[in-house]
């Protein structure tokens, strides 16, 4: 593959302009900033995805039934959606800009491919979302009901479309398709837009992210509605309706996000075996492969210090069959060396292992909590004992844990590659002669401080307006 030529070019550039040490510094800082800004960004985005659809459902119910409670609920949830939306937008601009700022070599290498979904995202999704959001917010008294409801649907479609396009971009990094290397080896070039768009990886990730959004929105609706019912604030009937919809919504979301995740895992066994092996701390190939419930391992010696495992379970997760070989880390390392040359091709096992467990653990609890909520609303039981109160009020944290852990696994499990098989992360960073480590440090500090403060403000405002109830949003 022509990629080898590119590596040599990049290495020469770096050697002439900077010392090895400063590259390490900027590399670390650039990765730190990317991790922080993307985890922060994706802290808000799933709620935006989920609440936009939920608000649209409420308003549609109003248009169809004419019942005032649905209008009130659409305004109420729309209000919380807006508070959260704003922060998703402003942290999103940083995401788009930092590829060029901190990852200029990456941008040069994949711009021909990666820039396209980003540009399309802005053109198809962001314009739709922002314009119709303005129309929705300011148009309550100016537009006919149906048209107003259409506006919030267009916002919801825009938000969820933006997820699609950014996942098209991300999927290329995970599983590059539809490209060839340029004749001089300097960059990857797109050869098929449809292959890029219909990358199987996209259609595994996209449902997973959308359903995660639905679950995130659903659990917030459950928690807030249940709180109002428990505290016996006014508007009991409205919050019962809200809880009913929320429980169904969260249950559908939790169930589908689990199924989508399972399907994705089965595909990854073939597509990104190293990520799966690291997520399982599977040091050596096994057939049948066991699933680790709890492992303390030694990354250097590549062996378990202590481990509880379910025999055959990993094979079952991977193939729906209790036998079948799942490749281990050391075998995959040898394969990678044979394919790409000498190097360390093993991601941080401890990070991958524990992020996977946090994601799956939170997901399992979500399914349980959503089932409890659903069970209660089906029986029209709106009394809450201590245990169910605690469960329903705190479960909204679970999707946030699962999303953050999921993205950490996805991005950290891909290391040392930034684009699997084509470009390593260390080759992608902006040369230290252009952006020095002190500039990068400034940027990391600035964003960390601002994002932390803004997250606090966002949470406090959400809490204030959630507790204020329906009249707070009028």
């Amino acid at each position: 593959m022509g990629a080898r030529g590119f590596f040599i070019v990049v290495t020469t550039n770096n050697n002439t302009s900077t010392s090895q040490q400063s590259i390490m510094d900027t590399l670390f800082l650039a990765r730190l900033q990317f991790a922080l800004t993307s985890v922060f960004h994706f802290f808000f985005v799933p709620l935006t995805l989920g609440l936009s659809i939920f608000t649209a459902i409420m308003e549609t119910a109003w248009v169809r039934t004419g019942k005032e409670k649905y209008r009130q609920l659409a305004k109420f949830w729309g209000h919380l959606f807006l508070i959260n939306f704003a922060i998703g937008v402003v942290t999103g601009i940083v995401m788009e800009f930092q590829f060029g700022m901190n990852w200029s070599q990456y941008s040069r290498f994949v711009g021909d491919i990666f820039g396209v979904p980003l540009a399309i995202e802005a053109l198809l999704a962001f314009f739709l979302e922002s314009t119709f959001l303005g129309i929705w917010v300011f148009g309550w008294d100016r537009l006919p009901k149906g048209l107003h409801a259409a506006a919030i649907w267009l916002v919801a479609i825009g938000s969820n479309l933006s997820a699609l396009w950014i996942l098209v971009a991300n999927s290329f990094m995970q599983s590059p398709v539809g490209f060839h290397m340029a004749a001089d080896g300097s960059r990857a070039e797109m050869t098929s837009f449809s292959e890029l768009l219909f990358n199987p990886y996209v259609w595994l990730q996209f449902p997973h992210v959308i359903t995660a959004g639905i679950a995130t929105g659903g659990f917030l609706v459950i928690a807030v509605s249940a709180w109002h019912l428990m505290k016996k604030t006014r508007d009991e009937e409205q919050f019962r309706t809200s809880l009913r919809f929320g429980a169904i919504y969260a249950f559908i979301g939790s169930l589908l996000v689990t199924l989508a995740g399972h399907t994705q895992m089965q595909e990854m066994v073939h597509n990104q075996p190293m990520k799966v092996a690291a997520a399982e701390a599977l040091w050596h190939s096994e057939n049948p492969a066991s699933f680790s419930l709890f492992t303390v391992g030694d990354e250097k010696k590549m062996e378990d210090v202590f481990s509880i495992r379910i025999p055959g379970m990993l094979s079952f997760l991977a193939y729906n069959n209790f036998s079948g070989e799942v490749k281990g880390i050391s075998e995959l390392q040898e394969e990678a060396v044979a394919k790409y040359g000498p190097g360390d091709y093993i991601p941080s096992v401890i990070t991958a292992y524990w992020s996977f467990r946090f994601m799956v653990g939170a997901g399992t609890l979500m399914l349980l909590a959503a089932a409890v909520a659903l069970f209660k609303v089906i029986r029209e039981d709106y009394t809450f004992d201590k245990l169910t109160s605690a469960l329903l009020l705190s479960a909204f944290i679970l999707p946030f844990i699962a999303s953050s852990a999921g993205w950490i696994l996805t991005e950290m499990g891909r290391q040392p590659w930034i684009v699997v098989g084509l470009l390593k992360t260390e080759q992608a960073v902006t040369p230290a002669s252009v952006v020095s480590s002190s500039e990068l440090l400034t940027s990391v500090v600035v964003f960390t401080l601002i994002y932390s403060a803004l997250t606090l403000v966002d949470v406090l405002l959400l809490k204030k307006y959630a507790m204020a109830g329906l009249h707070g949003a009028e």
Partner: protein
């Protein structure tokens, strides 16, 4: 289409996106800058913010789209520009973060310290980008240190040369004027009178600074000698439309005055892009190292795909964004129902 045609199309499209961005976000920057001068009490300030309430976010997407278009069509331009203008961009991002949140959060708490914090965010979050965009455009055309491998070799202070600062002041003052004229169209009573008074006053510095910038450009850049594409009378029309603003304002023809500030912004932007063509970033180190639409672009296939997507969706976006301006065409008064 052959590669060269596609490269030219995308240069034009990027120029169009920047022009649209400066016209649209230009007036909402202006409104943000004028907030402390327009609103004497909280209710007036709310009214001022609500004049751009439904629009500002959609306007900002023009920038995001321009960024995405540069990334997709000219990856080297994107990589060199964004990594090179690092601290300036960081400053701009911080400004845009605070400004965007300020609109949404300002009226969410009934505390004067809270509201005053976000009012400052709107003011600075509008003034800083309005200044920085002028600085950036001036540096595009004047040239910045770029080496043979397309990497920026200057620092933050290379960008703050007197010429670029002059352009920054010009863009700051013109956007502020543009915003004042917009406010004369969107307000009533006292607010309208105040906006009219401010617009007439602001016309003087905006015109003077624009002329200074124009003359400075003649001496400081190769725009007059090199002539990528001869802009012909376009810069002259830019000046004439700015000059006509005061006449139109005195006649009370705010609508036409707004058209004229928009044209002036558009024609100045177009002049700069024509002067640049076919370069996208001029290297002051060695003219052979400048980034051009030919050495910085994506492949023919990618540009072709992007052209198809743009041909379908740009008209649709223009249509619905235009419609949103039509829906919210009426003026805002202190008695209006306000969302922000």
């Amino acid at each position: 289409m052959d590669l060269q045609t596609l490269q030219i199309i995308w240069f034009v499209l990027v120029a169009v996106l920047f022009t649209g961005y400066f016209i649209l976000e230009g007036f909402d920057f202006g409104v943000g800058i004028l907030l402390p001068f327009m609103g004497k009490d909280d209710l007036e300030r709310r009214a001022v913010i609500n004049t751009i309430g439904p629009f500002w976010d959609g306007n900002e997407v023009w920038l995001i789209t321009a960024g995405g278009a540069i990334f997709a069509a000219f990856p080297h331009w994107y990589a060199t520009l964004f990594s090179g203008f690092y601290l300036a961009l960081l400053l701009m991002l911080v400004a845009l973060i605070f400004r965007g949140l300020a609109f949404e959060y300002r009226s969410k708490r009934d505390s004067s310290a809270w509201r005053s914090f976000w009012d400052w965010s709107i003011f600075l979050g509008s003034a800083i980008p309005a200044l920085l965009w002028g600085v950036a455009m001036a540096n595009f055309i004047r040239g910045v240190p770029i080496d043979a491998s397309m990497n920026y070799t200057g620092g933050f202070f290379n960008l703050l040369n007197p010429y670029a600062l002059a352009c920054g002041l010009a863009s700051l003052s013109v956007f502020t004027l543009h915003g004042a004229v917009f406010l004369t169209l969107k307000t009533t009573d006292k607010l309208h009178e105040r906006a009219m008074g401010l617009a007439k006053k602001l016309w003087i510095p905006a015109t003077v600074l624009s002329l200074v910038f124009g003359v400075y450009t003649y001496f400081e850049t190769d725009i007059s000698t090199r002539l990528g594409v001869n802009p012909g009378a376009i810069p002259i029309f830019s000046v004439l439309s700015l000059l006509s603003v005061i006449v139109l304002l005195n006649k009370g023809a705010s609508g036409w005055a707004f058209v004229m500030t928009a044209i002036s912004i558009a024609f100045s932007t177009i002049t700069i892009f024509m002067g640049l063509f076919p370069r996208v970033l001029v290297s002051s180190t060695n003219s052979d190292w400048s980034l051009t639409i030919y050495n910085a672009s994506s492949s023919q296939y990618t540009l072709g795909i992007m052209t198809t997507v743009a041909a379908i969706f740009v008209p649709i976006v223009l249509l619905y964004q235009g419609w949103s301006y039509w829906v919210f065409r009426q003026r805002i008064s202190k008695d209006s129902k306000m969302e922000y």
